[in-house]
Symmetry: C2
Subunit: 239 residues, 2 copies
DNA sequence: AATATATTTGAGCAGCGCTCATTTTTAGTG
DNA sequence: CACTAAAAATGAGCGCTGCTCAAATATATT
């Protein structure tokens, strides 16, 4: 086979692959992973069932290919945010918005991702899949870590933060938050919701946090100060 | 049938039901929901497959029964914590520990719970299941809300907190945190990990939090300190 | 046109969730 | 105890699933 024809035939194959991925993505998103049969996927992609298994060794691997795409989008946006010049608070807000919007668009996928992420099968193939996903996840969270690290360097964030805990709160809160959002059905005000979630986190990690100055606390500090000042005054007089 | 015999026969039936639930719980936990066939469940429970469907109209309902148990445990512990006399910080810590320990023990279940929680099928039965789960979830989160509300009343927490956001961070962080814990494999120091997670939340919601910032406050505190220290020094010399 | 290679196909397999006619067990009665 | 009616348990069988593989078809090379 010549180089040119090899190229065209490989291109043809890749097109087929993409068609199958596309069909599967839509079906998984609309009907869920387990509710979508490989026969339906084949039909939607306009090929026979055997062809699907010709391109993907099993249904799980097909899903993994979809998740790869999914992570690619998440990661590239995250890295864009990191490259742009903006303050740490805005970076976190944008990252959170992107994350929530992506997992919102396809929660069936997220769910399955979580399952794969957990999978501790002895099966070598699924093991490969999961470690690949771990790598994706690591690359993604590395973006988050970079934002935090830079934030500390800039003096926006407190030094000595427990990065893992903050990360768990950030992504976990978003994921859980999506579920409550999904139930109360208001998909439009994602932006508002995200800032409601980011706000408490920001409050606990930023140096500049405008402390909403709870009256009770203000009063207490005020009292304590006055008392010390008064004591100092009397002491100074005595001496 | 007399009342007595009815009672014994019903007791017998309930025992069978519990045996099936027990077998299914173990299998789901060890092999996952989709990887466990109803035939295997029947075999493990020592009955025929038909009997399983005699007690539970389908595999999903069997799972729902298991989740019901699971939530029962979570809720009763949460309500115990609420009844005991202790400060808000400790309450949150205990609630978080209980939550993490429970979902740790059976993450396959948690995963499926999430899926059911999402389910928006038109099927009336699954609809019943999901609304029942929503009710359980609401009862559980009500305990969390009570802790927050009481905390505000006591003056431990800032008034005007966004309860939903805090709740999402709390439970979402725990769930996500469990996954990272599961991967890094250190199931013993749950307690430590929980406090690492609770700490940032506490920092952002409590009134007593040592606020590390606000120049105005810092300056004033600094001045007061210096003044007291100076006074102390002179005092020490005089004596 | 002939041949070699790559791709596609769908009948078939074992296993799935679930049903239901049939059998077995249990409880109540004279 | 035998007899009966109701309750519980059974497993063959149905339509479906994910997946395989020998055969058929399409493509590239000579």
């Amino acid at each position: 086979m010549s180089e040119a024809t090899q190229k065209t035939s490989r291109a043809r194959g890749e097109r087929r692959e993409q068609e199958i991925i596309q069909a599967a993505t839509e079906l998984f998103a609309n009907q869920g992973f387990h509710e979508t049969s490989t026969r339906k996927i084949a039909e939607a992609a306009g090929v026979s069932e055997g062809t699907v298994f010709n391109y993907f060794s099993n249904k799980n691997e097909l899903l993994t290919a979809i998740i790869r795409r999914y992570y690619d989008g998440l990661i590239s946006t995250a890295e864009e945010i990191l490259q742009q010049e903006m303050d740490t608070h805005r970076r976190l807000q944008l990252l959170a918005e992107n994350h929530l919007r992506t997992i919102w668009a396809d929660n069936a996928l997220l769910m399955r991702m979580v399952q794969l992420y957990f999978n501790t099968d002895l099966d070598i193939y699924s093991h490969m899949e999961t470690t690949e996903l771990h790598q994706f996840n690591q690359r993604y969270t590395r973006s988050f870590n970079s934002i935090i690290r830079e934030g500390i360097q800039r003096g926006d964030l407190q030094p000595g933060l427990n990065k893992q805990a903050i990360r768990d709160l950030f992504f976990g809160g978003l994921e859980y938050g999506m579920r409550t959002l999904a139930i109360h059905r208001k998909p439009n005000d994602i932006e508002n919701y995200v800032s409601e979630l980011v706000e408490p986190i920001w409050k606990s990690i930023s140096t500049s946090a405008k402390i909403t100055s709870t009256p009770a606390y203000d009063e207490r500090l005020e009292k304590a100060c006055r008392r010390v000042e008064k004591a100092a005054r009397t002491l100074e007089k005595k001496l």
